[in-house]
Amino acid sequence: MELKRVVVTGLGALTPIGNTLEEYWNALLEGKSGAAPIQQFDASKFKTQFACEIKDFKVNDHIDRKEARKLDQFSQYAMVSATEAMADSKLMESEPNTDRIGVIWGSGIGGLKTFQDEHENFLKGDGTPKFNPFFIPKMIADIAAGHISIKYGLRGPNYVTVSACASSTNAIIDAFNLIRLGKADAIVTGGSEAAVNIMGVGGFNGLRALSMRNDSPETASRPFDKDRDGFVLGEGAGALILEDYDHAVKRGAKIYAEVAGGGMSSDAYHITAPHPEGIGARNVMIEALKDAELAPETVDYINVHGTSTPLGDIAEPKAIKQVFGEHSYNLNISSTKSMTGHLLGAAGAIEAIACIMAIKHDIVPPTINHFTDDPEIDNKMNFTFNKAEKRTVDVALSNTFGFGGHNTSAIFKKLK
């Protein structure tokens, strides 16, 4: 069976540094930080009092009030970014066979705020359960894909992948695989997360995973810097329209890039800590390159997982060196989480978009907030510190790794 080629024909982004694709991309190139004191709840008693929140966002500008009320924030973000990507792709204007268009979304957690609110409500009562009928369908992580399909009448494959911070890369890889197997003509994919709430921040603080640099939020996410002290929680969504190449050409679609391959692996080591030698990370990049039938030397840019945690930022460069050898020093590496914070289950989506835009514009977005080299990291590697760098980007690889030891890599390339 001959596999079909898969291309990207639409993008949408709702991020802490920009509420549209264009704003997001421009902010990435400017090196803008999305971190600031938390606005969504009173965090004064929390160890971490800042996050990368969405700014100047009024849900009712995008979604009817009655509908919005039935959507957890993570679904609202999903709808907004998917709507932008769908409009960008002009897919529906071609009157496609909607039985062959699917939605495969990613979310690490789902409706955490909805869970928090309903539980709080219950505790306030006398023990009589008075749960809102929308509680379960608002909270469950799969519902985002359901809502997107209902809006556009998309009757193809439909589900949500859950693999913590790797979730939306898993979604993208699944979408890619289904299209190349001929199971769908196009798939709306990506991911969304909304965990900047009491349980999200409190929970990650409990894990000692978050930066506590409360006196300087905008410099807190500093991947690969010696003084990094944890990740900065982000929220938002990214959406991609993946499409069968022939289908896209036939309708005269704009094509951003081609999806070249995907890899998936597990560390099988620890629930939250990465394998110290980066074995899972090494394997997943090797798998992705094999799947893409590309030699390591063809890769120009790696958008790393690089969350600004003490352990992860040491393991990942080690893995890159094992896979790319001498070429590790030629390629550009950057962690855009230095600007966006860590969007958990949406990270893979917005970082895939960063890769695709880097390919389109031949510019690599930076890793901001680099102050001091870490002697445990090989700084001969080019981490694109502090300033975007122009270079031809034919092939870009996006890594995302999740709690549970889930590793995913997706590779995108210029359409040739």
Binding site: K66, K130, N132, P133
Partner: protein
């Protein structure tokens, strides 16, 4: 408009996102006001909360219009 009716109407406007003019005594939640089965369950719960009453499920099934809701509450609210 009675106090009960005006409170019922404002709950319906809030939950179903409809205009006040549409919320007539005869209006059916599902046929006229765009409610689905989950919306209807939510409305009943809101009435229970607002008027501090418990509406048993078999009674709730008979409350399908604005007028039926108002009469039920008038008879049962303390």
């Amino acid at each position: 408009m009675s106090d009960i009716k005006s409170r019922v109407v404002s709950i319906i406007i809030d939950k179903l996102g409809v205009e006040e003019a549409e919320v007539t005594t005869e209006a059916s939640f599902t046929n006229d006001l765009g409610a689905d089965s989950l919306d209807t369950v939510e409305l009943i719960m809101e009435f229970e909360k607002e008027f501090n009453i418990a509406i048993p499920d078999d009674q709730a099934e008979n409350i399908q219009t604005v007028g039926q809701a108002v009469s039920y509450i008038e008879e049962n609210a303390k």
